[in-house]
Symmetry: C2
Subunit: 356 residues, 2 copies
């Protein structure tokens, strides 16, 4: 399935509710088509892997879009129902996203290690032939396989739970009859202030990002001069704890992880409106790379605290940790290069919508 908007072009004179219902029906349909493949056939052996990674991707894709639409266009829905639905969708998202996340992380880290330890004359890495490289690789693989197995077990335990059945029922309802409020009877243009608010939230977060460190290449962010936790507007600034490295790195990444959520919300809001994404998919992609590198770096830092590893293993893990933080920095720089091109474009699509 591609990332192209799945809604049909918005018909003239449709109501806001009709447009939302059309979008949610399509997404709930995708959810319900993917679910049996993920859960497995009724008669299949319990404990078997989900039949299709593609089906799991499709399911996650629909879950994110329904959740995003319920958040951005909340005024059009029964509030209690929308809030409950979002909670349940978030639960399923967290449940299902873990296993493929560990799989991608293992692929990323073993790929980075193999590249760093490559001994071929044209592509040697700075750990070429290092005795610690195979040990560090085995350690990371072991720890990530363990985490993945745990995540898989958690999925299997929940896949036939009453909670998932209830969520499936919710999606079935959504694919026929969306519980709309009176606000949904307004003309389609009423969607615009909501989509605009999603974009404004993104633009505001973008302005507050610590650009000064990501704006130029090799600014040192990710290794040096990590930022203090930023208070969101209206929040009391967090007490400044004596920094430990994990907390400092997490605080440094937080504004960018938050930006990723806002990019996704803005992207799905434009999708609902049938407007072109204007580069938001690319921003989403580069912030996904940011997040995966950040998570991978944290995994390496944890692995380096494993008792009784050899100094050679620890040294290699130090290099890989820095390498992944460099990837984080690289993603921020790439985001900064894309952002100015995307931001002016964001005004266009929504402004164009009423005339469609």
């Amino acid at each position: 399935m591609t990332d192209a908007p799945t809604t049909a072009p918005v018909a003239r004179a449709a109501t806001a509710g009709e447009v939302l219902a059309g979008y949610l029906t399509a997404q709930a349909g995708a959810f319900l088509r993917a679910l049996p493949q993920v859960v497995g056939e009724a008669g299949s052996r319990p404990g078997s892997l989900p039949a299709s990674a593609q089906a799991a991707d499709d399911l996650l894709r629909a879950v994110r879009r329904v959740g995003g639409a319920l958040h951005t266009f909340a005024a059009a829905f029964d509030p209690e129902w929308a809030q409950e639905s979002r909670t349940e969708l978030r639960w399923l998202l967290n449940l299902l996203a873990q296993e493929p996340g560990y799989q991608r992380r293992a692929a990323r880290l073993t790929g980075a290690l193999d590249s760093l330890a490559d001994t071929s004359p044209d592509g040697a890495g700075m750990l070429a032939g290092h005795a610690g490289a195979p040990k560090a690789r085995a350690l990371l693989e072991r720890q990530l396989t363990l985490a993945r197995t745990r995540a898989h077990t958690a999925v299997l335990q929940e896949l036939r739970s009453a909670r998932l059945h209830a969520l499936a029922d919710r999606m079935t309802l959504l694919s026929g009859e969306v519980p709309l409020t009176a606000a949904a009877a307004e003309p389609v243009a009423a969607l615009l202030p909501r989509a605009a608010a999603a974009l404004a939230a993104l633009l505001g977060a973008g302005e507050r990002l610590p650009w000064q460190r990501a704006a130029q290449a090799y600014g040192g962010a990710g290794l040096h001069r990590l930022g203090a936790p930023q208070a969101e507007p209206g929040e009391v600034p967090a007490a400044r704890a004596a920094a430990d490295a994990d907390a400092a790195l997490a605080a440094d990444d937080a504004p960018w992880l938050r930006a990723r959520i806002l990019v996704k919300r803005a992207r799905y809001a434009l999708e609902v409106c049938g407007a072109p994404g204007g580069g938001l998919a690319e921003l989403d992609g580069v912030l996904a790379r940011h997040r995966e590198a950040s998570d991978a770096a944290a995994t390496v830092a944890t692995a380096a605290r494993t008792p009784r590893i050899t100094p050679a293993t620890a040294y290699v893990l130090g290099v890989v940790h820095a390498d992944q933080r460099l990837e984080v920095e690289s993603a921020r720089y790439a985001f900064g290069r894309q952002w100015p091109g995307v931001v002016p474009g964001l005004v266009g699509p929504v402004a164009v919508l009423p005339g469609r």
Copy 2:
């Protein structure tokens, strides 16, 4: 002392030999003024430190410039004398440059470590509060202090040697009577083809640099995809040994270290001609940073092989090693950004010279 050209403007109708003699006299004078401060007063206690780091800098500065002029304008000098002089100057350069080199390297590495291990809320590093950081710092300081002490002892052994006295005599000769050939009687414009050759050598080396990896930020050079040893034109390509990391990194750095030598030669050749350097000093500076980061990284890799270090120490050294290789990559990127601005300018100054 600044890096501004120290020669007086070239007088009209001077011969090539007069211009060269003027330049070399000035540099030999600087050498002879700095030497007693470096060697120490005749009555001073043997084993005491050179009186002045500034004097050592001035001495090295003059040594590099005399050596560069003797190389670039070789045709104007008695060949045997010039060759011997260059050998002796190189000996003194290698002897004197080591100790300040270790000192700068210790400052660079302890500075990087302190920044990486910084725990202040606004500037925490990715090793903030890490138990291995103080141990790694102590290890690096100990090893670099030892290397520096050895270099210092070597300097003290040679400072009153017959070899240094002979070189001082050579410089005294140079400050009065430069042994020129018949070619030196040519008009000053005869210097141009030689200076142009120095620039052409730099431009040629610049074209052969592995730009594709340094041209864009975070290209991964320095950590991944290191290059094979490049054969100089006319050389038989080196046999491709099974790469070990140190050899791969050395081969990766070699073209840039070579470029640094050529930048210096071109810079001093323009100085002899009294022409503005056109950004060569900045290129020289960024390649000095490249070299110092490369040397510092190698020191860290060596320290990480110290027997019986703790895994925490080794992990920190891995991060610092990657950090210094990142500095190498950053310097290459900075060089690539400066190069296009400098290269067109290089044609100008020399072409202007005949009209002065």
